[in-house]
Amino acid sequence: MDKRAEATDTPEYKVIGTRPVRHDGADKVTGRAIYGADVHLTGMAHSRILRSPHPHARIKSIDTSEAEKIPGVLAVLTAADFPELEDKIAHLGEGSVNLAFLAANCVAKDKALYRGHAVAAVAAVSPHAADEAVKRIKVEYEPLPATTWVLDAMKDDAPLLHENLRTDEMGEKGDKPSNVASHLHFETGDVEKGFAEADVVIEREFRTASVHQGYIEPHVATALWNEDGRLKIWTSTQGSFTCRQQTAELLQMPISHVTVVPCEIGGGFGGKIAVYLEPVAALLSRKCGRPVKIIMQRNEVFEGTGPTPGSFVRVKLGAKKDGRLTAGQAWLAYDAGAYPGGMIGPGCMCVFSCYELPHALVDGYDVCLNKPKTQAYRAPGATQAAFACESVVDELADALGIDPFDFRLKNAAKEGTRRVDGPIYPRIGLIETLEAARNSEHWKSPLEGENRGRGMAAGFWFNVGLKSSVSAHVNPDGTVKLLEGSTDIGGTRASVAMQLAETLGIAAEDVHPIVADTDSVGYTDVTGGSRVTFATGMAAYEAGLDIRRQMAERAALLWECDANDVTIEGDDYSANGNSMTFREIAANLHETGGAVVGRATVAPEGSTNGFGCHIVDVEVDPETGKVTILRYTAAQDAGKAIHPSYVEGQMQGGAVQGIGWALNEEYFFDNQGAMRNASFLDYRMPTCLDVPMIDTIIVEVPNPAHPYGVRGVGETPIVPPPAALANAIYNATGVRMRELPMSPPRLWKAMAEKAGSRE
């Protein structure tokens, strides 16, 4: 599906915009690619982790003596094996982390703060022996009251997770302990005045359940603490350098003593940035003198790793009769899980990010409670906020009798719009994206039939820059080896290599991208924030310019002329009637001084601003409340799609994750605070039978901050689906759903209540 709304005056490209086979493809369809779990080292031991059965409990004692007697057991670890850490903040590129909390999240120290919190670990000759041994570890717990809903955790009498945590109010600490880690506040204009000017004001409350990123590959790490004091880690991570830094800081060793080898990664979506296993495997390896591998089981992934925050959001919007928004106010409480530092910041910044609001006020709360520490999940914090805002926008348009596209276009953010948290947008493509969606065949075609409805919603994600580094070596046969530090989760080897190929005027296949370990490439931030094709791609472009300059020098040597006289067109170098191709100059490298190595480090600042708009048709079964998706279209501004297939893939994958979040996925907690559906059978992610084809419209409004116009695309597509589905369900049933997931029992109940109130 390549229905592209081309912006005018796009340059002609040879490689960019084509669809070559990805460079790592053959290994991935033959089973040869090495993922974290596929690492085998000589003498490797296997580890299992003991996890708390209680959502909140004081750990009074741990007795490992029986476990140590199990045949084959090599080492046992508890929090006591970790170095003492102060409350130091480590900056990890995309976000920062308190090291004491990070260590305690890896292995609980005095208290277990959620069911599934790691308490101890065993290394043994086989995973089965390790399994038997962890069952013999005796932990004496003092169970404490627990809470798993954000509003409950904010109450004065809520069970406290951290005795020393006080609410941070714009830098001022509160006077008593609280689960509320921080209160954020953003304000522009005067909302009271804005609401007074409105003809219609609508205020609604929304709730969302925690969902999991759901990557198919469980967390895995293998560590070897060598006799020379150096540590090597093979792992599945979104950021090898971030993993290196966290591990080194937690173990109090120099980062130069740690090498992280990023294996192929089986999905991350934000959940594979924080370390869980790496420091544990490292300490076990030091204890037993062997490499140690830990693989999480699926229930451990659910109960021990990053769900996304459960949330409560109140949104109030006012508009004039003509549809012009006058003011917006939002109050958001997101749970952070067991430790402070959740997704509330981006939630606050994204809630009104699609609209021009003269007056706005946003309050946000970061709240600790007895769930695993929340982690980023694709546009972290934005989906919950957009569910609320886009539902109210739809209701407001409906109340004013204005078409939902017209209403959004009238108020759409554009170049010069100031977001409530301060930044002023550069050139962005929201209007073009909305227009492309409105002009789609999908929106123009009628939807007929009972219990059917169509909905739409817009979405935003910042897309970050951060730091990337690459080096590239020209081979004598005219191909180029590209070393990058960005782990490739969804085809970025291809999208980065293609930008280098374009810059050099050679074929995509003639660039050989390699994701290198932390000893072999310069510092590179995480694969996250929709940044790799943008920032690592920019580094590849810069390295390409560096190579071009050097190749021109080599040509000048051969032609005995000044390098400045050499002109370059694509892969053709010429001067004074001489002409050679890139490949021909490459064949002469040995005669002209040896290898040509291009390199670049980039740290682009700011956001590349991705906007999307989704349209969905649903049919609701009135007997069961089950929603069937009949048709789905996702439109998005990609700036410039480097490899359109993988841009579409991001849009389709994000849309289906959003569909799962909207309709089915949720952590079920019992009244003891224990998750009751920690398996793929009971935590119901979409299968291919649950969804139709996802049509895509790539809009291209080039990003002025990138040489090829690239904007990040990975995260935005998860933002619109819940609101688009809620709006479609309203149009099908007349019921406004304000709680996620809109699962069959919940929707059935809402429809029954509506029918009851009519009688």
Binding site: G31, H40, E264
Partner: protein
Amino acid sequence: MPRRTHVAATVNGEEVEFLCEPRQSLLEVLRENLRLTGAKEGCNNGNCGACTVMMNSVPVNSCIVLAVEADGAEIETVEAIARQGHMHPIQQCFLEGAALQCGVCTPGFLVAAKALLEKNPNPGEHEIRFNLAGNLCRCTGYDKIVRAVQDAAEIMQSAQPAAVK
């Protein structure tokens, strides 16, 4: 250490023998004993399909087959789909159609899709979705996977001798 059992099976056309504990799954033995790491462990309880292999010409979740059950069986894994340096059309279509992102579910999908096409050379979209519903993918939204299977069906059909029709 529990007593180990001797098992003899045919794996990817080769006769193999191994010793395994009764509690070990076929997946564990394939990966750990035979070092065939193409089949992946995603859930270890039969819900995600990443470990799909063929056992006596039927696709199974190898994480919920005991290794001892493989005695005398014919097993085929993703490693055997490409032959003599040539990719199977299903592999080619996954590559050309960008039907993988992280790629960890891909081996399971390839085995399951190949099994489907061998049973039903011309499946409709719904049949493809129904038959692959036991394989979870979190990256692609399935669109390009379904299309790749459709494309592979077409190529395999046209490669058949005309007399078949």
